[in-house]
Symmetry: C2
Subunit: 404 residues, 2 copies
């Protein structure tokens, strides 16, 4: 019998009524002749409530106890989901992460899955049960409860699909799938039927918030194809899978945008070893996540370095970066918010030239000035004025024929 | 280092502030030179909230999933309590019932403890930790989560104290200990320093709601002395322990009362084998708990049988008992609410005559009419008009000199 893994996030199981909807969908999948494993998150809002409770007894709760506390969230959902399935006449059994055989390392609150031993899941599936597994959690070999950090439930689903060699893995979410661009920005954006792991990774790191990169990387590593689809309708979603060699790949798969960015430029940075390291170590210590970094070749013993970050992180910088600039003998520090990033992504870019030219062309024709450019093998990203991001996205979407 | 087990119920850990109070008390106990194991219940209200959630997805949730759901209640408390201890600078670690080595049978929602393997607790105590154990829960040998039913957290504490051969086991509650009688009824009732297991069992089954009989029976079986005391002050409580042979025991330890009772009398029950069985099987099928049963000798081929129950159960009877009476050829069925039970309890009764006479005497002098009498080796119980229960309790309390 084919094995299907279905993952439902916090919004999809947000209240008893929605849990009943999930149960109905699971029963349909089972009656269609599948063995079903369901992975669920904590009901939306529950985790935040638990964190609030923790803060009332401790300003800095320890990670181990935070995990014991947070793990109750998914444990509640698995029991309720199993009950809902029972009330529909289905056989079902709930399993905590530990019971499901999710073994992790001991890094509490952001544990890595070390191993999945799906013996219990297999046994219960063979007995005709739907297995309801608590996402986001596991246990160490020593028996301590751990949680997997952000996107942890997706990871649980993909790891179980890998361990069971499942025939299908479905990640239910509140969107219909992955789109060629954000439909709120580009009205004729199309839902993609398929996308390759690397493309989704570039889209995700460029602001398309469908899934945490971590889960996509895990799926790529173990070659687990999965489908991102909506829990609120029956539409097919987007299948995410390994690149198929030998086929002609689409040049551009999609466009992702990220607003609310800021850039910092340090002028006249002396061209000697260690200066870049000094700057970016200082930023890391201040807990600022840097996105794009651009440094051009030095022509006169010094160069300008620019980098971007989330606008909210700009404040964290304070006068720190000015101090560093002074220390290394650089010139001015220019800080500027109100910018955005537009990325064009596609595996086919590797073997096609002219993508960058076409992008710059359409933006130029539209009167969009490009402030910075950054490229990877399968992505071209440009930094532009935030006020121009919507028109830029529509120009690019049309230029690459993504609505066709 | 002496080992102390401290159990705190749902009211004592009812909110973050109270959890901090519990943590302070535990730290004091540890600093006084003890190894401390803390057993906690779910925060008051949490269990009811979970039951309500379950009812929204299933009219009859299965027992196994109910256990998975309810076990999250204590798991939340152990994490918060450990965090609270950390914030006071103490070393502490939380353990679920399963992690603490509480192995039970597989009777979900009312599992019996089969075995306690305190290896993890010992290890963590030896490393200087306070161990915070989730009460009320355990796991089967197959790894299923179970709960122990009513009074389960007390049971966990006593079982752990037995397994660790703890030096002291303290059951913290919202009363100061066990009293000679309910102080709301008898103003000069005194807190007892000690009481024997059997006496507390008779008191408990007679309405003194300090602890579930089940936990007292368990403590008696494994000879675990424990102290019942208040979590809201530092007063010593009442120590419950094994009877000490060879000592002269007090004749009467205390008086317990139970209001809101009802009695049913079936007249002229034919004196032949099987009639009593027919009556009480019918009552059991109707889920009515019977307390006192009185049947006198038959003088003319038939006899009257009377029994008492909670007043609320009287309605459940409906016409059922009349039907049974007719079927077995008995006479009338007389149902009467508005009665109460007064029990005089004491180990010393065994070797002292005259206790019953003194009780009947003082009630007679007080104008209290006795409707039924039932005795055990260490208890005399009388059924009287409910309106007389307060004065009766005061007469008896004075007659046996319990305030002295």
């Amino acid at each position: 019998m084919p094995i299907v893994v279905q993952k439902f996030g916090g919004t999809s199981v947000g209240n008893p009524e929605r849990i009943m909807n999930v149960a109905r969908r699971v029963v349909e999948t089972q009656r269609a002749g599948n063995s079903v494993v369901v992975v669920v998150s904590a009901m939306s809002g529950v985790t935040d409530g638990l964190i609030k409770l923790a803060r009332q007894v401790s300003t800095h709760p320890t990670d181990r106890e935070m995990d014991v506390l947070l793990a109750t969230g998914e444990q509640t959902t698995i029991a309720l989901t199993a009950m809902a399935l029972h009330s529909l006449g289905a056989k079902a059994i709930s399993l905590t992460g530990a019971q499901a055989g999710i073994i992790t390392d001991g890094i509490h609150t952001k544990a890595k899955i070390a191993n999945v031993t799906p013996r219990q899941i297999r046994k219960h599936l063979n007995e005709g049960n739907v297995c309801i597994v608590a996402g986001f959690q596991g246990q160490t070999l020593q028996g301590h409860i751990t949680t997997l950090g952000r996107g942890g439930s997706d990871l649980t689903a993909i790891a179980i699909a890998a361990a069971l060699r499942a025939d299908h893995c479905e990640i239910f979410t509140d969107v219909d799938g992955v789109y060629t661009c954000d439909p709120r920005v580009v009205p004729d954006a199309k839902k993609l039927d398929i996308i390759y792991y690397d493309e989704l990774l570039e889209m995700a790191s460029s602001g398309a918030k469908v899934m945490q990169s971590r889960s996509v990387e895990f799926a790529k590593k173990f070659n687990v194809p999965f489908e991102v689809r909506s829990s609120f309708n029956n539409n097919r979603g987007t299948t995410v899978k390994a690149e198929q060699h030998g086929l002609e790949n689409v040049v551009v798969r999609g466009i992702s945008i990220e607003r609310n960015q800021a850039k910092v430029t340090i002028t006249n940075v002396p061209d000697r070893p260690g200066t870049a390291s000094r700057i970016f170590n200082a930023l890391a210590s201040a807990n600022v996540s840097i996105d794009v970094i651009v440094q051009n070749v030095s022509v006169s013993g010094s160069t300008d370095i620019s980098f971007t970050m989330n606008n909210d992180d700009l404040e964290k910088l304070g006068g720190m970066i000015d101090g560093v600039a002074k220390e290394i003998g650089a010139g001015e520090v220019i800080k500027k918010g109100g910018i955005a990033k537009l990325s064009v992504v596609g595996i086919g870019m590797r073997s096609h030239s002219g993508v960058a030219a076409k992008l710059f062309d359409c933006l130029g024709n539209g009167g969009v000035n490009i402030q910075m450019i950054s490229t990877s093998e399968i992505k071209i990203a440009v930094i532009i004025e935030e006020s121009k991001i919507e028109s830029a996205a529509n120009f690019a979407h049309a230029a690459f024929g993504l609505a066709d």
